[in-house]
Symmetry: C2
Subunit: 348 residues, 2 copies
């Protein structure tokens, strides 16, 4: 019998020969464990984790495929920031402090080692602010596009995680940061939009390529015990507020003029009012949308300011109108409902 | 400005329209949560997990790409069994009882819903023996091959996880089950090997397509506190025993005639002695290799038999000979070293 001649086992190696996967793990990924004992130096069959008393583990998995979830023209560093940002943003939406990540990397055969080195450097930089450690993963080859699945875990005080359910009529609807930058950054990168001012252009691209997950704000929000519901804005503001509405059995009204916009986004919108569709529906914001009682807002805004961050009231939660199938209504400055065309990214 | 015309955002949907991803999750994956409260019905940004007092969480991630890690001609049910088996086998290697899994599924655009239904049915069947619940995941489209990343977590008594390090000269080297079935099953499926007896043929294929992770044995092994080191056999017996040797700073001798073989494998080997390379080096076994003191073996074998499983002594751990770079030596029935060509799957 001959060896099976499929690509499965095309390359066998003697255990005395160097193994490229092990080398890559040792050189580029092991340093990202920050010496965590439970990572077992990325050399064992699994990692070992403990959860401190009084905390729960929030766990999220996101898969990002080149050409689908990010432009393949992004730098390896940017892609790493995107992969980490998207996942830590989900933890932030639960009010969890990022602690550990597990990375499954699908790399095209023959990918240059410099690409992997740059990606690992981006990973290091993206994990650094939260101090989260890489605790394990898998590195495999693929005939398809480069793709990454990150499983991120964070600690949240037991029983106090932020969820999508819990919003009540009368609650105020808020967002962190500014909305629309990521979607317009993608438009710039795909030549669907041109921006004369290079600083504004860079701002939008940066916001698309390197999301800044709001786990610091989220931890503060959990401490106040005032948040009724939260979600991170990945699919688009309207779609994600819609997710809160569906989970909570409520509806929401968003006052379009109240939605916080960066200078760059305000400039684009002034030239073309239809861009509002992209701002409210485009996604890639990785900000938080959340609901809280009116009387909690001043405190929340003050605490956010102390962190150097910003919270803005953009609307309110109302009772669900079962005859109206769209849970989120957008109002113009005169309080009249307006139609927004684009409401959320379709994954499949 | 027009909407960015990349495939990123090619399909936007109003939040009142049906969303295929949400439908698929609700229909096929939500039932696999077994009603676990922390899964939040697969509708929130992350899942919430607690770990019981006295236990640690073992966490492993494996990515399986169609055409690379499994034959794309396998049925969706078989692929699900493979994805689950590979991951739960890693947990078994740590001595952890499988509890929860997170699944990131990359599906080619336009994949038939019946395929997804069959895959979910396979997932249900593969998770059932351990009772592990699907707690979250991500479902995305890809222009590449179908691919799955599973992150599996299990409970192990704190401080008593089985690791690759810890083997000592004088320890006995054992394996569970039989070796070589998976690699020969792959050979059958790729027409590199033909087997006349249909029952034997089916046995090999089944062993390749539906690994039976040994978490029950592993839990028993942890309880005995007698196991010095363990690994699961995925890359091939020689490579994986090599991993124990590297992590423990020891070497190993395997007595080839002692390696337990199924009737089907024995038949193939009798016809062609070179098949030994595939048996010892081919991988896809998803059995455990482990080291224990000689005086623990009888008890371990008795306890294994009570579980309806089998443990076989195949060799011994010896002091590392630094002049010899290959940590694993294979002996024939006369105790003479023999050369085995194929020693482990090269991942990249």
């Amino acid at each position: 019998m001959t060896e099976p001649k499929t690509e499965h086992k095309a390359e066998q190696t003697s255990n005395s020969k160097p193994n490229r996967e092990f080398d890559i793990i040792a050189r580029y990924f092991r340093p990202l464990t920050n010496g965590a004992a439970g990572a077992l130096a990325l050399q064992d069959d699994a990692a070992l984790l403990s959860v401190p008393d009084g905390f729960e583990l929030a766990v999220t998995t996101d898969c990002l495929v080149g050409g689908v979830h990010f432009l393949e023209t992004l730098s390896p560093q940017d892609i790493a920031h995107k992969v980490v940002g998207v996942n830590l943003s989900d933890l932030a939406a639960m009010g969890a402090m990022p602690k550990v990540v597990f990375l499954a990397a699908q790399l095209p055969k023959g990918i240059q080692e410099s690409w992997i080195a740059d990606f690992a450097e981006g990973l290091r930089a993206a994990l650094k602010p939260s101090g989260a450690a890489l605790m394990g993963g898998d590195t495999v080859s693929t005939p398809g596009p480069v793709a990454f699945t990150l499983t991120a875990m964070g600690h949240v005080p037991k029983g106090h995680a932020l969820m999508r359910s819990g919003a009540q009529p009368g609650d105020v609807l808020c967002v962190t940061g500014t909305i629309g930058d990521g979607a317009l950054g993608l438009a710039v990168l795909t030549d669907a939009l041109s921006i004369a001012d290079s600083a504004e252009r860079d701002h939008l691209i940066q916001r698309y390529a390197r999301p800044q997950p709001r786990w610091k704000l989220a931890e503060m929000m959990v401490r106040t015990r005032q948040i009724r519901a939260a979600v991170d804005i990945s699919d688009g503001l309207l779609a994600d507020v819609g997710h809160i509405c569906m989970a909570s059995g409520v509806a929401a009204v968003i006052d379009a003029p109240a939605v916080p916009l960066s200078k760059a986004v305000r400039g684009v919108l002034a030239q073309d009012p239809t861009v509002l569709n992209t701002i409210l529906g485009g996604g890639d914001d990785y900000e938080l949308a959340f609901c809280a009682p009116q009387n909690a807002i001043a405190d929340l805004q003050r605490l956010a300011n102390e962190l150097g961050e910003c919270i803005t009231v953009i609307g309110r939660i109302v009772a669900s109108d079962l005859e109206n199938t769209a849970p989120v209504t957008v109002h113009d400055k005169a309080g009249r409902p307006i139609i927004v065309e684009s409401q959320g990214y379709q994954h499949l």
